[in-house]
């Protein structure tokens, strides 16, 4: 009898090329023949966006490619890992039940029972909920992080390590639960250290420590880099760690999030179109450097500095001249119709803004 795998490889490849992104994930789990076939095929997935959401008991992996979206939850379970394929769009009518020999989970109630004996750290995590249309199955003896990393590795190979955007977020971003999240995050970092780099247009990263951030920064190559805010206290990191990244000068949009950069030389920060940079110290000489640079080039649209210390703030008028109104300066940019606005919020706001308009 002719079975699917008896078909010639060219045909199997054609079938694989017609799969939607959700089916690609399922196909990879059927058997190693199909997994190899998919990983070796030249699928044309364009404009892909990847999101990873980390909790200590469940990892959410979302991948979208145009209108085609797949959301998979990897949930820890006393007997292994529960895979949750989130229901996202109207599916074709369900097929008649098949007499399955493999072990499937019994139908799940809307809320998945807490299986590890401990309350989830973030009970409102959407990945913990399973609706009746979600598809679940148990991989016995499997580890939920390992299963997610296997899928991530597979999809990144298919994408040839290129994606439009990559988001790595912590489901509950608070220092009080870092000790719970850290083991899971570490597993991802081990993966990042071995693989990559991953090329992308936009990266949004939530991470726990500067050391972990540096591992991620060496793994990604974005054009837009957004580091997420975490509750205080903010974490300090040497600015040179960013500057020595090979792709640093290629970044157009930058947000340092809750990481405070120390030892900043602003001449290394003049290539951004848009930036929000938290720094430890700023002084009048820095403001002068930035002002002169932004008057020479209209590349920058907005450059915001969030500072902790501005030692010689009272001498700002000596550098910038008389303000138009309190804390606001306006300069015409030579050979253009644009102007540069510099504004300083009240000193207790610790914010200095440069806008070209």
């Amino acid at each position: 009898m002719l079975t699917f795998l008896n078909l010639p490889n060219e045909i199997l490849t054609k079938v694989v090329e017609e799969l939607d992104i959700s089916s690609i994930f399922i196909f990879r789990r059927v058997c190693h023949h199909l997994r190899n076939l998919i990983d070796d095929s030249k699928l044309s997935l364009r404009e892909t966006n990847i999101e990873i959401s980390v909790d200590d008991q469940v990892i959410g992996l979302s991948i979208s490619c145009g209108q085609d979206i797949v959301k998979i939850g990897y949930r820890t379970h006393e007997n292994g890992c529960v895979l949750i394929n989130k229901y996202l769009a109207p599916l074709p009518p369900p097929p008649p039940p098949l007499p399955l020999t493999s072990k499937l989970l019994p139908p799940v109630p809307p809320k998945f029972p807490i299986l590890s004996g401990r309350r989830p750290i973030f009970p409102n995590n959407p990945w913990l909920e399973i609706s009746k249309n979600d598809m679940t199955h148990l991989i016995e003896g499997a580890d939920f992080v390992e299963e997610c990393l296997k899928d991530l590795d597979g999809i990144l190979k298919i994408l040839r390590w290129r994606t439009n955007s990559f988001r790595f977020s912590l489901e509950y971003n608070h220092p009080s639960v870092d000790h719970l999240l850290s083991p899971v995050v570490s597993r991802f970092l081990e993966f990042f250290l071995k693989k990559g780099p991953l090329h992308m247009n936009f990266a949004s990263i939530s991470i726990l420590t500067p050391d972990e951030l540096l591992i991620v920064l060496r793994w990604i190559e974005p054009r837009k880099l957004h580091l997420n805010m975490r509750p205080f206290p903010r974490t300090k990191i040497q600015a040179t760690e960013f500057v020595k990244l090979g792709y640093w000068k290629q970044i157009e949009i930058f947000n340092s999030g809750s990481f405070v950069l120390t030892g900043v030389d602003f001449r290394d920060f003049l290539h951004f179109k848009n930036a929000i940079v938290a720094v430890e110290d700023v002084n009048c000489e820095d403001v002068k450097v930035l002002k002169e640079a932004f008057l020479r080039s209209t590349n920058v649209k907005q450059f915001n500095i969030v500072y902790e210390n501005f030692a010689d703030v009272l001498k700002l008028s000596e550098i910038l001249g008389k303000p138009v109104t309190t804390g606001r300066w306006l300069f015409l940019i030579p050979e253009s119709r644009l102007s540069l606005k510099i504004s300083m919020n009240p000193p207790n706001h610790h914010c200095l803004n440069f806008v070209t308009c």
Partner: protein, 201 residues
Amino acid sequence: MSVENAPVVDVDEAAIPVEKKMYYRFESNDKKEFRVSELAIQQSETLNRLVEAMGYTSEDVENKPAIAIENIDGKTLKLVFQWCEHHKGEAIPVDDGSVPKIVEIPEFDAKLMDIDNGLLFKLIWAADYLNIVQLLNVSCKKVANMAQGKTPAQLRRVYLLPSDEEDEAAKRAAQEAQDPRAREVEEEFEERKRQGGNSFF
């Protein structure tokens, strides 16, 4: 059954009496005969080249034996020729990779492919063998669509595939069948390992 006694299946019956077209005769590997219009044959690059090379006249197609297609059975070939007749005259898509390919399954094709999976895989194999580009496209799309909303276990059932474990077990069984001593050696090795021995030899 002899060729003379084989049933003749006209796939495009309505067209035969009124149109003066050439109808070629083909025979499947289970001796089923089909009459297929010249225009429908153009959907198959393989068959089109074959009939061109043969250079048959109208008399030849009636008098000479039907062209044998030895690798395809009658049930599958009937579906193939039904598809070709329905889509005769349509442009054959060229897949040069220059534009993203979007395959949609027309209603007729969906009904035609509403068959068991074994026959569907045969249809795909035949479309590839006969080089019928669009039939191959829609049938591959149909197989890909079958994966939607299924678990890996259900897919194994649908595609008649073994799991990795079953595959490994089958390989082991095949090996053991070749060398019955292999299993004994393996068991002995495991036993020595349990007893703390570092080396088998």
